[in-house]
């Protein structure tokens, strides 16, 4: 496919790896934010091409992984109600809640449907006026325009039986939370390219300056990732802390203004709990006051969240780059993709699933 194959070229990758090795004089630790990048890194063995001094730690950019257990429990509770069709991206279905997951609830007879796009959920609502159709709206900035448009459309088309269970998260506040943590060891960031297709790169300049940390906007193919690493290494070696964007075939400095307008209409920024990490101030979207009547948590009377159960899952440490998945005691034994203990073992973007799938044995 055009604009894809050439970015997996082994020769180009090798040349980048050589350039990185030539540039490194001391050890550096950098974090790729996005779980899609984590998968590409592990799948194509990008980390194995790197010189010993470069450590890649995997970031929290897996929307499914950071969705709080209370939201999963709420989705499960709603899905079990007789008059409800619960819709969601496929990744959400197998994420464990306190007691079960959405797939098991579906198998037991609940109407749970996977959708490709949130606007498909609005279509389902219009086709089923006697049902309550709820869309489980998770995601980062990349997904926010689509989710915002679904709500905007439901408002314009007056679809009273549509609502959303919102668990939206934002990347820059998460980067700041990681950098402010006393256990932080990340010295540079590979920012998630597709988040920046929506937001532009403007939000990263103050962070690069405040924390003196290089931030390189990076794509998802092996060659993109290696290029991002090389640029980060050269900044670190030179003592620079700048925002660079080699992924400019897709990302521009400016935000997508059309998308921002609809997102700004439908959402407002609020505090958000991240599973395994805790609440990060001003790190998520909620529905704006004019759209609050589409909020499933307001529309339906939900039982209060049970106290957090003890779990062996170390996902919080994995998501903050403190622990490698394979160093979790449950990894590959008590926790596998067939019987996951935590979300990072489920999702296509989860670091534990990437390690299990591509590094087994």
């Amino acid at each position: 496919m055009k604009y894809l194959d050439e970015y997996r070229d082994a020769d180009a990758a090798r040349r980048y790896a050589d350039a990185i090795a030539a540039a490194v004089t001391q050890p550096w630790t950098m974090m790729e934010i996005c779980g899609g990048q984590t998968h590409a890194i592990v799948k194509y063995g990008v980390d194995e091409l790197l010189p010993d001094g470069i450590t890649l730690v995997h970031g929290p950019g897996c929307p499914v992984c950071v969705t709080p257990i209370a939201k999963i429990d709420a989705a499960i509770e709603l899905a079990r109600r007789p008059n409800v069709i619960l819709t969601s991206f496929g990744d959400m279905l197998r994420v464990p809640g306190t007691e079960t997951d959405l797939l098991a609830v579906k198998a037991a007879g609940a109407d749970v449907r996977m959708v490709y796009s949130p606007v498909d959920a609005v279509k389902i609502a219009r086709a089923n006026p006697d049902k309550e159709v709820i869309f489980f709206a998770v995601g980062f900035e990349t997904t926010a325009p689509a989710n915002a448009m679904a709500v905007y459309q439901a408002a314009r088309l007056d679809v009273p039986n549509f609502s959303v269970l919102v668990s939206h998260v934002l990347v820059p506040p998460a980067i700041e939370a990681i950098l402010s943590s006393p256990t932080n060891r990340v010295q540079a960031f590979l920012a998630a390219g597709h988040v920046c297709t929506v937001m532009g790169t403007g939000e990263y300049y103050p962070i690069a300056e405040k924390y003196h940390v290089p931030i390189v906007v990076t794509g998802f193919e092996p060659v993109d990732i290696l290029q991002g690493i090389l640029m980060a290494v050269r900044q670190l070696e030179a003592g620079r802390a700048e925002v660079e964007n080699p992924y400019n075939r897709v990302v521009r400095t400016e935000a997508n203004e059309t998308a921002l307008r609809i997102m700004g209409e439908v959402f407002r920024v609020g505090d958000r709990e991240w599973r395994g990490i805790g609440t990060i101030p001003q790190s998520g979207y909620e529905l704006a006051p004019d759209y609050e009547h589409f909020d499933a948590e307001r529309r339906f009377d939900l039982s209060p969240a049970p106290p957090a159960a003890e779990t062996e899952c170390q996902s919080g440490l994995v998501l903050q780059g403190v622990l490698k998945p394979c160093d979790c005691p449950a990894f590959g034994t008590r926790c596998t993709p067939d019987k996951p203990l935590g979300a990072p073992m489920v999702s296509n973007e989860g670091a534990c699933a990437a390690y299990y799938r591509y590094r087994r044995g």
Partner: protein, 84 residues
């Protein structure tokens, strides 16, 4: 889930004012994609698509820059090699 994939716009349907719709081909698989966020997208353009929405048109000129950068690196390497 944050992954967005490049595809080529085959045709555009402007009949719904809220949702400018299009057929986009992803290596032969054709899907209905909204161009609501890419008002500039034209037939034949490459767009980067996520959960049913085109988020950006892909800049053809920039598409090759990753390789240009490599070329520059190669030159730098040669200069460095020449010095040692």
């Amino acid at each position: 889930m944050c992954l967005a994939v490049p595809g080529k716009v085959l045709s555009i349907d402007e009949s719904d004012p809220l949702m400018r719709m299009s057929k986009v081909s992803f290596g032969g698989i054709v899907k209905d994609i909204s161009l609501a966020y890419t008002p500039e997208a034209k037939v034949e353009d490459y767009v980067i698509v996520h959960v049913g929405f085109a988020l950006r048109t892909i800049d053809e000129e920039e598409a090759n820059s990753v390789f240009e950068y490599l070329e520059q690196m190669g030159e730098l390497e040669e200069i460095r090699d020449g010095e040692t």
